[in-house]
Point group: C2
Chain length 335, copies 2
């Protein structure tokens, strides 16, 4: 006897069961459209509008193993995060995200519902974080490890891009977004989302996410404040970047690019100062504004720009940075 | 005693020995600049010119195993081919390629000279095939399989894009580029570039390339006629696409998109008709032109557009298509 109340089982079809055309036919209706699209998927290339004669471009790859574990992330999370992290790089230029192209490589044994879930995550991420931004093209390939390569585009709407190099001594340092949650979420997953052998475990991770939705959510499906990028540009931000490798490291990058120092006021960094300074994958927007600027909604003051070139300070004392490096930080055996 | 005449050994340093910043410092000087670049690598995103208010975008991923074998392709080949195949998709819209962004994922044990060789191949491919086109940004990640994800951009220079859907009965069918060599080169490699166990072998492949430079070269480092894309658009091409999966399959795509048939004249397909129709990865440009058009240099007539919707014929007889599918065509065990 069937149980009419049970949720429908996801299709057991795999990529190997379907032609490339059939896979695309499953994906396309799920993808968000782009307001900038003049010609979308289906030809050799897409054509996009660039109303002010320029466009912003960034690219980022996410790979099963180094960048995510299928035991921890749902397919929807993967699509959402791939969109969110790229949208944040566009926003950090002061641009409005307009479109994505998405290349997915997956093992032939991958169930089609995994690819459909990624498409749903791309759609929901774009709709929530950057309405009007959509997927205009892509590529499907075979691989051993699930891989998402996203390239994102943005419209500066006639403004100058906000670079990392424009901060000046005396500017206010401000942030939109969260600090330390995503990094803490990852450390929770590595400590408590694994079985006794250290293997990532889906049931443990799901339970952990219920107990720590803020931190695990920030890690697996971040919600960067995309619309604050253009808002910062309009408010006169002198420099800005996406905080992806931790506040201290990224502040150091902005400081070196601008030839200035940054002095954080520890009282603004929450109760866990080192977690705020060192946690990766926050995807907040760190910006500097001329002194006296009324900060745009969503930005809060964290400190001040100093003349000490390239130095990151906390309450006037130099801060020693840790670091994330893609080739040193990854242990394939860790999951 | 050192032998002063010996070639310098490639550096034995690996990605794991270097910081991300050090790797980028090795790569950047090797990459070609883009004439369209307003802001290049080093910030959260690049900014590119779009003089006519539009831009063309395409993306493609190449993965060690399904898409290439390190025993057969040099790093220079990989960079060259990653550029060439993406440039060809831009050209197939009638656009001039302007820029690439390149994401590379590689095992930490990868020698730095492999990444440098890829960068050199990207540069030489752009300089040879699309002068003025350059690399404006990218991403470095860790992975088990060497992976290149390239997104390419183009400028329509005020023209309308040439779609797959514009062919009309009576149009001339024409091609710029080679037919069948790349597919034949791959079959040679699979038959003669492997050892007794079927494992790809570098020495055998190198010897094979000396004996069959045309076919192996077309497979490993293709030279698509990029500048013929804009030339076809200027000459009034009604439809165009990049021949990547074999002439018959891609002609079928153009025929279905346009609601027409295509009838090839077998006498124009060279001595090996099936090789010409079925070989993949040619990366020539298949275009249709109104009857009576003087074909642009580099294009040769292959047949005529008919009214029989979606049908590919050879000398008036329907042609049965083979096919390449990324999830069905790849056997991971094949190398």
């Amino acid at each position: 006897m069937t149980n009419a109340a049970a949720a429908p089982l996801p299709s057991s079809e795999t990529l190997a069961d379907l032609s490339e055309g059939e896979v695309l036919a499953r994906i396309f209706p799920r993808l968000p459209g782009s307001d900038a699209q003049l010609l979308g998927p289906g030809d050799d290339a897409a054509v996009l509008r660039a109303p002010d004669g320029r466009y912003v471009v960034t690219t980022d790859m996410m790979i099963q193993g180094p960048d995510f574990r299928l035991a921890w992330s749902t397919p929807h999370d993967l699509g959402w995060k791939a969109a969110a992290t790229n949208l944040s790089d566009v926003a950090a230029m002061g641009a409005r995200p307009t479109a994505l192209v998405v290349a997915i490589a997956a093992p032939p044994s991958t169930p089609i519902w995994v690819i459909e879930g990624i498409a749903d995550g791309l759609r929901d991420g774009c709709e929530a974080l950057a309405p009007g931004c959509g997927v205009v093209g892509g590529d499907l390939s075979a691989s051993d490890a699930l891989t998402l390569a996203v390239t994102a585009f943005g419209d500066l709407e006639g403004r100058e891009p906000v670079l990392r190099s424009g901060a000046r001594p005396g500017d206010v340092v401000a942030l939109a977004g969260r600090l330390g949650d995503a990094g803490w979420g990852l450390s929770l997953l590595f400590r408590l989302g694994v079985d006794a052998d250290g293997t990532p475990d889906a049931a443990l991770a799901a339970a952990l996410r219920e107990r720590h939705p803020r931190e695990i959510g920030a890690q697996l499906a971040p919600e960067p404040p995309i619309d604050r990028g253009p808002a910062a540009a309009l408010a006169g931000a002198t420099a800005m970047l996406d905080v992806s490798d931790g506040l201290a490291i990224d502040a150091g990058r902005l400081a070196r690019a601008s030839g200035v120092g940054i002095d954080f006021d520890s009282t603004t960094l929450g109760g866990q100062v080192e977690r705020a300074l060192g946690g990766g994958e926050d995807h907040g927007l760190l910006a500097t504004f001329p002194a006296g600027t009324e900060l745009p909604d969503g930005f809060r003051r964290l400190g001040v720009v100093t003349a000490a070139a390239g130095v990151v300070l906390v309450d006037g004392t130099p801060h020693t940075q840790g670091g994330w490096d893609p080739y040193r930080g990854w242990d394939g055996a860790a999951g």
